[in-house]
């Protein structure tokens, strides 16, 4: 039985030396086997694996003194083969060479060192898969993959980038909705923004990018993996909003939160801004877990809570990526990226409405707009005396038909027709090629034509 070597991932010299093959394309993994396993080849072939074109390496970001020091140590110790052990777990490293040569000190860091981003094949592949411009260095993308729960230092986690990204996404989604559907009620706008830019949607976006997660965060993790901790979720506030003084009582006593106050106080989706440190809840959860004797991180799919954390972390990665695009490539590139990955998703806005008294609301609308009082008229019917009748009812204002609906009874059909009429009012759109305010920020933009602004909701709360 021949010896089996574990697969090795490394960067080949030819991948970095050639002019036509630069990072991220240059960071393809390769095995060290062909080069290193030859009898005459130097062990680990450290020289051959080091990129030659140092000048073209993207500039390293966010290097504090804390991280520069071990870097120098590493360069001093590179010749000493004994320090390259990743983990002192008694593995026969001659037979099973480690995937990557790492200094022993990396295990002390909560997240991988920035310079390791240049050697990660997963990271380079992710960079290329997203068609990110070469202006965005791999170190920034690596930073976008580190959640606040993995590394608390805001200089090394993605919280700042995610905040920028979140603001940009919600801005673009909101301005698009406002210009394309000017009559949408505010509650529907909140819901639509959440459908595009909420945690669930962005989680799906991040998953569709093929990003993989690390089992646990740490300094030795591949920088191309999403790193977060389920045990101590991040407490960083990533959404803008005010903390309500009565926040504790809202849930308890079911206090009313008006839409206007949501616009002022709450976050971009109309949700209450929670306090940054939910310590009491966490303790309770820990107790429950201890009672169950099952830690959420050890089940295969996790609990609802862990899935929620993972969802949020994935969403923050997507946001941080957009923040990185904005930071390195500017406004237009970020807008194009958001259009390509988020605004291109499909949402049927007519499914967002839930009515309570559609006929009364329609009557109020007609009274406000000086239309004739709406009248229900029976357009057609079949099987009135049967078990399954169908009535088609139209709502008329004067002689204009506002909408129609079919239902198994006259009342249901009338309600449905009123609902359709109201939806037709709310979903008015000036057209598909309406310009949004951010279109004016490009140079030589045509003069702005005012967008249609509706006078307001029929019944405001």
């Amino acid at each position: 039985m021949p010896k089996t070597a574990r697969p090795k991932t490394a960067v080949l010299a030819f991948q970095l030396a050639g002019c036509e093959y630069q990072p991220p394309a240059g960071d393809q993994t390769w095995t060290g086997q062909l080069l290193a396993a030859r009898p005459g080849a130097p062990p680990a072939s450290a020289g051959a694996l080091r990129p030659r074109c140092v000048a073209s390496r993207p500039r390293q970001l966010c290097l504090s003194a804390r991280r520069q020091q071990p870097q120098q140590q590493q360069s001093a110790q590179e010749t000493d083969a004994d320090t390259f052990d990743v983990l002192q777990d008694g593995t026969d490293h001659a037979r099973y060479p480690p995937l990557e040569r790492l200094p022993a000190s990396v295990a002390g860091y909560p997240s991988p060192l920035p310079e390791r981003a240049l050697k990660s094949a997963k990271l380079a592949a992710l960079h290329a898969r997203l068609s990110l411009p070469s202006k965005i260095p791999l170190q920034t993308l690596a930073r976008a993959l580190v959640d606040g729960s993995a590394d608390e230092n805001p200089q090394f986690n993605n919280s700042n980038l995610a905040f920028v990204g979140h603001t940009l996404i919600t801005y673009h989604v909101a301005e698009w909705l406002m210009c394309h559907y000017p009559r949408l009620p505010m509650s529907i706008v909140f819901s639509a923004v959440q459908a595009y830019a909420g945690d669930k949607a962005l989680h799906q976006v991040a998953r569709s990018w093929g990003v993989e997660t690390a089992a646990a965060p740490g300094g030795e993790v591949d920088p191309g993996l999403l790193q977060f901790s389920l045990d101590k979720p991040t407490t960083t506030v990533l959404k803008f909003g005010y903390k309500r003084t009565e926040a504790a009582y809202l849930e308890k006593f079911k206090w009313r939160r008006g839409i206007s106050s949501r616009v002022v106080f709450d976050d971009d989706f109309g949700g209450v801004v929670k306090s940054a440190e939910p310590e009491e809840e966490q303790e309770d959860d820990d107790l429950e877990e201890a009672e169950e004797g099952l830690s959420p991180s050890y089940t295969s799919y996790g609990t609802d809570k862990t899935r929620q954390i993972a969802e949020k972390v994935h969403a923050n990665f997507a946001r941080a990526t957009i923040g990185a695009v904005y930071a390195h490539c500017g406004r237009e590139a970020a807008k194009a990226f958001i259009n390509a990955h988020i605004m291109s998703r499909t949402l049927d806005l007519s499914n967002l409405f839930a009515f309570k008294h559609p006929t009364r609301e329609l009557a109020l609308l007609c009274a406000r707009e000086d239309f004739d009082h709406p009248v229900a008229r029976l357009l057609s019917e079949t099987g009135r005396m049967s078990r399954t009748p169908v009535f088609v009812v139209g709502i008329y204002s004067g002689t204009d038909k506002l909408g129609e609906g079919a239902g198994p009874s006259l009342d249901l059909a009338r309600f449905k027709a009123a609902m359709n009429s109201l939806k037709a009012w709310y979903l008015y759109s000036p057209g598909g090629n309406v310009r949004v305010p951010s279109d004016m920020l490009v140079e030589d933009a045509k003069p702005w034509e005012p967008a249609h602004i509706d006078i307001g909701e029929i019944i405001s709360r």
Binding site: K3, P24, Q28, K200, R345, T346
Partner: protein, 137 residues
């Protein structure tokens, strides 16, 4: 009394807006000794560097698998993987297989009967027997 909002979720379609290559990783296994890997060794030496350079979206991992037939395994974004045994194949034939893996979506192979699959509503609406005048037959 007022209208309330329901929570929905947007659905994305790959290629509408942005296209993400579904193959994210490719494992390439070979054997130094066995004859069935001769073509694979040639492929790794001569063709793979160019192929890897042309497809930076894919992470390539080359590793030996002694005394076994050469295999190419593609890993996809949807979590599935596809493996193709390339024993006794010539380098160019292996290139064909590798391209097949690169272009695959990772989904199970199934017969597609409808030429168009869309999440958008038909612009003509869903036919309903209760509307319009119909046609006397």
């Amino acid at each position: 009394m007022t209208v309330k909002a329901l929570q929905q979720l947007t659905t994305g379609r790959n290629g509408v807006g942005a296209f993400i290559l579904q193959c994210k990783k490719m494992d390439i296994h070979y054997c130094d000794w066995a004859g069935s890997s001769r073509g694979m060794n040639g492929f790794i030496k001569s063709i793979l560097p160019k192929f890897a350079a042309a497809n930076p979206q894919i992470e390539f991992v080359v590793s030996p698998r002694p005394s076994k037939h050469p295999v190419v395994i593609g890993h996809y974004i949807n979590g599935r993987e596809k493996a193709i045994c390339v024993r006794n194949l010539e380098p160019l034939q292996i290139l064909k297989k590798v391209e097949l893996l690169r272009d695959a979506s990772g989904e199970k192979l199934r017969k597609v009967n409808k030429p168009v699959q869309s999440v958008n509503e038909s612009v003509r609406g869903v036919w309903s027997p209760y509307h319009g005048n119909g046609m006397a037959v």
